[in-house]
């Protein structure tokens, strides 16, 4: 599916939004899932819907349809982080419940997503969206896919070489360049946040 017509969305065209929601949904759901899946999986869908609502409110500030998905992912990520913080704050407050405690035990003391020095969670959603957009432009194929294969799917150099039909010796080169691109956008190790 192609990106929706931004002008139609900004004009409140319900039919265009109807199509756009389907196109945008995976970005909202995926970004919320990254944060909430371990502890609050039942909240993922709700956060994704709330994020789409927030996107509707902010759509007139955009100048390109390409900005829609990064912005939505930024909104969904930050909403999910807020939801997780509320969940952990409840333990310290008077409203704690047994089910919360049980969940917290399952999730650990403090998920990385809500850690104070988290390089992603510390950004406002607009800045996060900008950086995601910049990174999308910086990562040359197949750098992004290889990084995801190594860090998210935990493939070995050899598996990645086979998957992308490249020599095993070149996988490290792509990964090194991909991390360098990330460092340019986020600062070394995310320290520009």
């Amino acid at each position: 599916m192609n990106p929706p017509n931004l002008q139609a969305l900004q004009g409140g065209d319900a039919a265009e939004w109807d199509l756009a929601f389907r196109w945008l949904w995976p970005a909202a759901f995926g970004a919320a899932q990254v944060v909430l899946q371990p502890c609050l999986p039942a909240e993922v869908e709700d956060v994704a819907i709330e994020s789409l609502e927030e996107l509707v409110e902010g759509v007139r500030s955009l100048s390109s349809a390409e900005e829609l998905r990064p912005l939505l992912a930024g909104i969904a990520h930050n909403r999910a982080v807020s939801r997780l913080r509320q969940f952990y704050a409840a333990k310290r407050g008077a409203g704690k419940t047994e089910s919360y405690e049980a969940k917290q035990e399952a999730c650990g003391d403090l998920p990385e997503a809500i850690a104070p020095d988290d390089p992603v969670g510390a950004l406002e959603h607009k800045e996060l969206a900008e950086r995601l957009g910049q990174l999308l432009a910086e990562l040359k194929p197949p750098q992004g896919q290889m990084l995801a294969d190594f860090f998210l799917r935990r493939l070995t150099y050899e598996d990645i070489a086979k998957k992308h039909a490249v020599a095993p010796g070149t996988v490290g080169v792509y990964l090194k360049r991909g991390l360098a691109a990330m460092r340019r956008v986020w600062g070394p190790g995310g320290k520009d946040v």
């Binding site: 969305l9 900004q10 004009g11 409140g12 065209d13 319900a14 939004w17 109807d18 929601f21 389907r22 949904w25 995976p26 970005a27 909202a28 759901f29 995926g30 970004a31 899932q33 990254v34 869908e45 819907i49 789409l52 609502e53 509707v56 409110e57 759509v59 998905r69 992912a73 930024g74 969904a76 990520h77 990385e112 988290d118 390089p119 992603v120 996060l128 995601l132 990174l135 999308l136 992004g144 990084l147 995801a148 190594f150 860090f151 998210l152 935990r154 070995t156 150099y157 490290g172 080169v173 090194k176 991909g178 991390l179 990330m182 460092r183 986020w186 070394p188 190790g189 995310g190 320290k191």
Partner: protein
Amino acid sequence: MNDQEFFDLALKVIGARASDAEREQLEMLLASRPDMKTQFEEIRDDARLAKKVLPLMEAVGSSSGEFPAYARERLLAKVHQTLGQPQPARTKRGWNWRWALGFAVGAAAVVLLLLPMLTRPAEPVIQVAMLDTAGAVRGEGSDLDALKAQWKHSEVRTFDKAGPLDTWTTNWPSGAKVAAKVIYDRAAGEVRVILYGPGKPVAKTFSVGQDLAATLRQATGFIQEQTGK
């Protein structure tokens, strides 16, 4: 060991994809080359950032996952509430407004057109008679024709005596709000017009010169002038 080889070794260890031999090799290298430790820590920080950012990157590019149908109505309501549909909504209101205005203007125009018709006096009933006391003479027929031509929808009565004409003159048609009697007195050479209406009766006499038809037109003009018809 060059930079790329060090990067590969460090990344495999950081990513838990290294063999025991590779881990040992890295430990020995960092122990013998403390300057490589900073480089290793940078790679570890970058790996940590990648683990945070890459899931979001994947979400941005993802096309899997089905939009839940139950959310559609809620989100479209949000669209309507936030962005509205200003054009169609305004157009709809505009049409209603224009329609009402158009109707009002049209109705006013109709009223203006009908008003004179409604307020104008009723079409006068015109009765025509000719008094010819001399009896049948030459030219009588053409005079009758002239009268019939002027008042096509009226019967033209002919009297040869003044008595019956006087009776006819005072006998106004029932139900007529406005009526006119036109009497052509051939002998006197005049056309008398008597108007009967809401006010006092009005009468006027026209002398017939060379042209009876012209005199009859004058009589018609007088009736129209008096009745507005």
